[in-house]
Amino acid sequence: MSTRISIQRVDFDLSSEVTALKTSAVGAIVIFTGTVRGDDGLSSLILEHYPGMTEREIARHVEEANGRWPLLGVTVIHRIGKLTTGENIVLVGVASAHRQAAFEAAEFLMDYLKTRAPFWKSEERHGSARWVEARGSDDAALSRWRRAD
C-alpha cells in the first residue's frame, strides 16, 4: 500500500491526488474533502496541530485501516493555519480494488481526524475568536469503529 500524509498550510490539488492513487489494481477511489462552512456566522478557522505527533498518529491510523480493509493507497492531507469560508480543510483519499473497503476506510479515517487527531480549532465569529471544545457526538461516531476485542 502506498501512503501519503501531509500537514500543510497550502491548498491541495484534487486531480493530482486522485491521479497518484490510481494503479492498475485499483477499482475504487473514495475521496473526502472537507471545507469551511459559511453558514452559522463563521468567518474563519485557525487550525493548530502538534508537529510530528500529528503525522505519527495519522500514520498509525492509516496502518490500522490497512489492517482492517484491503487497501492499495491512502492519502491524508490536512491543512493548518487560518482558513476562511469555502476553503478546503482536509482531503482523505482511499484506493482499493472494491468500493466497500474504500468507503469504510475513508469514513474511519475521517472519523479519526475529526475527533482524535492532535488538532485544535479556533473559530472566528463576528470578529471574535474562540477555541472549540471537544464534542461528545464525534466520539460516538468514532466508537462505531471500536473492535469487540
Binding site: Y50, T115, P118
Partner: protein
C-alpha cells in the same frame, strides 16, 4: 527537557515551547504539572485544574501518572478537537 504548549494553553502561557532542567523530585507528568503550577501567574492558572488538560510524552498520549525523564518532550494541551 522540552515542554510544548498548544491552543489556549499556549495562548495563556504566552509561549509554545520552552527548555527546562527536570528537577530531581519530578518523576511523573502530574508532578511536572505541580512544578509548573508553583511558578504562579499564568502557570498557576493553567495548571490549577488538570481535568481541562491532556498530556503527551514523546508524542504519545499519556495519563497523569506516566513517568518523565530528562530529555523527554512533554506537551500540555486541551482535549483535541480534531480537524
Amino acid at each position: 527537557m522540552t515542554l510544548l504548549y498548544f491552543a489556549w494553553v499556549r495562548q495563556k502561557l504566552g509561549t509554545g515551547e520552552e527548555k527546562i532542567l527536570l528537577p530531581d523530585e519530578v518523576r511523573t507528568v502530574s508532578e511536572l504539572a505541580s512544578h509548573l503550577h508553583a511558578r504562579g501567574g499564568a502557570f498557576a492558572d493553567v495548571f490549577s485544574d488538570l481535568k481541562r488538560l491532556r498530556a503527551a510524552v514523546n508524542q504519545e498520549h499519556v495519563s497523569w501518572d506516566a513517568s518523565v525523564r530528562t530529555g523527554d518532550e512533554v506537551a500540555f494541551f486541551p482535549p483535541v478537537t480534531g480537524g
